[in-house]
Symmetry: C2
């Protein structure tokens, strides 16, 4: 049970957004822009960055939700969630994405932990300035969402399968259709 | 110099928001709602939480900018910036705010670091559910802003005094008047 009375029983960030629609609106719009707006990174790649950072932040709800969204941008195989935990041992990702995931991991620790050589490596693998910008901001934004979800002690379903349907919906309809009014 | 070519020489998050107006918009709206929207916490108190968390995240630009904004919601004394670094030894703050700052500090480490007893203590000092919610989200949001600013290697003026004028402007006009179009 959450640390405050949310007046609903919805899990993770869903219950928080229902409780606080005035902050839910810009937070949803930011997620929509970062994860589904125009970009040379696919939505699957961006959702993988989001899920990967969430796992580093120990946020089970966000890791699972965005891992499921990534899976549904691809072939729908939910074993991706476990492979994200394993550092993408089985999933076929590009060297560029691997270099961007390294930057995301540095951001997750702290902004100042990103080193010039992390950025250089990503550029050598073909990452553009815009892709590096977006990776840093996705990683930073999930340091917010994750702390919001866990800092208020919200509950989250345990099993991967519980996120299958919502992942499909996020991949198909995105983040701004269901904002509480 | 930033890790990417921002095509401007503006410091901290200002240069990033000029570079990326589509993400600047929801980020500015979130700051406006959290720091200046209707609340039983004063804007000075909320800016102090923002500045305090930014200092824990080693983000000089955000610590200074929001410390200066807090100062200008009060009497304009910029020595507040140093006292925030010192954990509010000189500033006369309420026991409730001190308990909320403790929650913010836990959030800064990680969402799961907030303990039931941290929340209980704040409630005993008179904090409402809404105030606890807002404190957690302010702290979480600055874990984003701080990482965005430092993760892309932006520059920041060193001295407290350099933030005096912008702090006054933030206190007076807020966060959404200057969003790049």
């Amino acid at each position: 049970m959450a640390y405050i009375d949310l007046k609903n029983k919805l899990p993770g960030i869903v219950g928080l957004m229902e409780y606080s629609p005035e902050t839910a609106k810009p937070m949803s719009q930011l997620a929509e822009t970062l994860l589904r707006g125009p970009s040379t990174l696919t939505s699957a790649e961006r959702e993988m960055i989001a899920s990967y950072v969430s796992y580093q932040n120990e946020c089970h709800f966000c890791h699972s939700s965005h891992g499921a969204a990534a899976a549904h941008h691809l072939d729908g195989d939910m074993s991706l969630l476990d492979d994200i935990k394993d550092g993408f041992k089985k999933t076929d990702i590009s060297d560029k994405l691997r270099a961007l995931l390294n930057i995301a991991k540095r951001v997750q620790i702290l902004g100042n932990e990103v080193r010039p050589e992390d950025v250089e490596t990503a550029k050598k693998e073909g990452a553009t300035d815009r892709e590096i910008h977006d990776t840093v901001l996705i990683a930073a934004a999930f340091c917010m969402y994750n702390r919001y979800v866990d800092g208020l002690g919200t509950w989250a379903p345990e099993e991967n399968e519980a996120y299958d349907e919502s992942g499909k919906q996020l991949a198909k309809e995105g983040y701004t259709n269901s904002i509480p009014k």
